[in-house]
């Protein structure tokens, strides 16, 4: 078991954003994490990577307790994430952004550059390597988040809505990229609102609503679950 989450809870003043959530992630799988806006998905990522400390519950990554670990330490242990609201290092080029990621495991600038170039080729961003990250389109920024995270050579990668706001061609590319990442031997947890995409890539799906896990299962089962349809996909979808 790569990741074990037990009773994970985060309370903010007047609101329990994540409420006793349990799930596990197996090595090599893709776990989908879905739920309506404000369900608490991003907060779960913040908790897993040390941006927030949980109010209660445990997170075990490779058997190691992660609840007191800081974000950079989590990254160095092989667990990192992308940001839903992209955070490009605006005054660096695309290549330099990815090199920053590469430096997590490599000290030498030349070697870091080699890895960064390899990753940019892998994610299909080689053509714009010399552009300033601040000048990229949203689609490219979202992809840069992924490239940069990949460069840290993670074992488990958490992707937070990397397809939001993309057109259908870009979404198709993103789906392909995620499958390729898995082939690299990296395990993924993916938050996504684009239903078709998440259903097609996930091995299993966890559904969150109001901070609670309401369902877990394979994509087909989730699609047909009455509770999920009610809570998340909405009445319209249920009728069809």
């Amino acid at each position: 078991m790569l990741l074990e989450v037990n009773g994970l809870t985060k309370a903010f003043a007047g609101l329990v954003a994540v409420n006793e959530v349990d799930f596990t992630v197996q090595k090599g799988e893709i776990l989908g994490l879905i739920g309506p806006n404000g369900a608490g998905k991003t907060t779960i990522f913040h908790l897993l990577t040390g941006y927030y400390t949980p109010t209660a519950g445990t997170v075990l990554f490779n058997g190691k307790d992660m609840t007191r670990v800081t974000p950079p330490a989590a990254c160095r242990l092989g667990l990192t994430r992308t940001f839903q609201i992209v955070k490009p290092l605006v005054q660096l080029t695309v290549l330099e952004n990815v090199m920053v990621g590469a430096f997590a495991k490599i000290g030498n600038a030349k070697k870091a550059k080699e890895l960064a170039l390899e990753i940019l080729e892998f994610t299909g961003q080689l053509a714009c390597k010399d552009m300033l990250a601040g000048n990229l389109t949203l689609g490219m920024r979202k992809r840069l988040e992924v490239s940069r995270a990949l460069a840290t050579q993670p074992e488990l990668l958490l992707l937070d809505e990397t397809m939001a706001g993309l057109n259908s061609k870009e979404i198709a590319d993103a789906v392909k990229l995620i499958m390729k990442i898995r082939e690299r031997g990296i395990t993924l947890v993916v938050i996504e609102h684009v239903m078709k995409a998440i259903m097609s890539i996930s091995d299993r799906i966890v559904v969150i609503n109001y901070g609670k896990k309401i369902m877990e299962g394979c994509p087909d089962a989730v699609c047909n679950d009455q509770q999920v349809i009610q809570a998340y996909l909405g009445a319209d979808y249920a009728k069809r």
């Binding site: 990577t49 940001f83 490009p88 600038a109």
Partner: protein
């Protein structure tokens, strides 16, 4: 002809030309006063470059670098006058001492962000000034320390010493910025949260940046003490004349740019001297007014504004 074209296009060309000019300058400037101005420009370039590493590249704007400047000045002169340590070693010890106090200062001040960081470090400068002022047995307090024999004896040798140290600082900053350390500094400046996700221990790297910046600032404090041959707590820990002036040099020149400190230093020294010559009594007033005007009309500094026209060439 292509060979000449290559040379002209080489991006190190401006640096090489400048270095050549700097080397022959004392042969041309036979006048002591002009040499004095050149030394001041070097002093402020070096201070600006040291500050720029932290403020420009790491994004941690310090309004209290006088703490390191004063530390360096006092450590080297006290070691020399009380313990007979050579002034040359004093330069090194000044840097080390400044770098060492940067550790606790950074540890405490980096809990704050933005303007609160900027000023909390200034509070430390005041603390150190008060300590030096009142710990008379060791520091001579407000009386200050007078240096009988400076590190070198002529203005020309001082110019070359200053030139060497300034060049070293510029080269080191340039070296650091292009390596892992520099990437990490810039990443912290651009987005701290993203930096953390990429495995950067942000506080630790901010402290590294502060330590390097403090080291050079301390060395320059020591050189300054040698140049003026006299220091007291009000001079070397001065908020206005040291700490804020350092920020000013870089902001005027262009924050986070390689040439910014040099350009800023030239502007500040010229404006300062010009208003002193022309307005006597009201000189600081005019100087302040010019600061206000320049900040108002050059929000990105001289280099920052020029860069839009000259592209990479000026960036080096």
């Amino acid at each position: 002809m292509t060979k000449w074209n290559d040379i002209l296009k080489n991006r190190h060309l401006p640096a090489v030309l400048l270095a050549l000019i700097a080397l022959v300058l004392p042969l041309v400037l036979r006048n002591e006063y002009y040499l004095h101005l050149a030394i001041l420009i070097l002093l402020w370039t070096a201070l600006g470059a040291s500050w720029n590493l932290l403020g420009g590249y790491t994004g941690q704007v310090s309004f209290g670098h006088s703490v390191f400047f004063g530390m360096g000045a006092y450590v080297s002169l006290l070691l020399h006058t009380k313990l007979g340590v050579s002034l040359w070693m004093g330069l090194l010890y000044a840097g080390i001492a400044a770098s060492l106090i940067a550790i606790p200062i950074g540890w405490i001040c980096f809990r704050l962000r933005g303007p609160y960081f900027s000023l909390s470090i200034l509070a430390f400068s005041e603390v150190l000034r008060l300590i030096v002022l009142h710990w008379k047995e060791v520091t001579e307090g407000a009386v200050g320390i007078l240096l009988i024999n400076s590190i070198v004896d002529s203005k020309v040798s001082f110019y070359y010493l200053m030139l060497i140290v300034t060049a070293i600082i510029l080269l080191v900053v340039n070296f650091v910025v292009k390596r892992k350390l520099g990437f990490y500094f810039i990443a912290i400046r651009d987005d701290e949260e993203a930096a953390e996700a990429l495995g950067i221990y942000t506080t630790r790297y901010k402290i590294y940046s502060l330590m390097i910046s403090a080291f050079f600032t301390g060395v320059m404090g020591s050189l300054f003490a040698n140049y003026t041959s006299y220091i007291d707590p009000y001079i070397v820990f001065s908020v206005g004349d040291v700490a804020i002036a350092m920020v000013l040099v870089v902001v005027l020149g262009g924050i986070g740019t390689f040439w910014g400190p040099l350009v800023g230093a030239i502007c500040v020294v010229m404006v300062n001297e010009g208003s002193r010559l022309m307005f006597a009594n009201a000189s600081v007033l005019i100087y302040g007014a010019l600061v206000v005007i320049v900040i108002l009309f050059l929000p990105k500094g001289v280099v920052g504004s020029l860069k839009q026209y000259t592209g990479k060439w000026f960036h080096a």
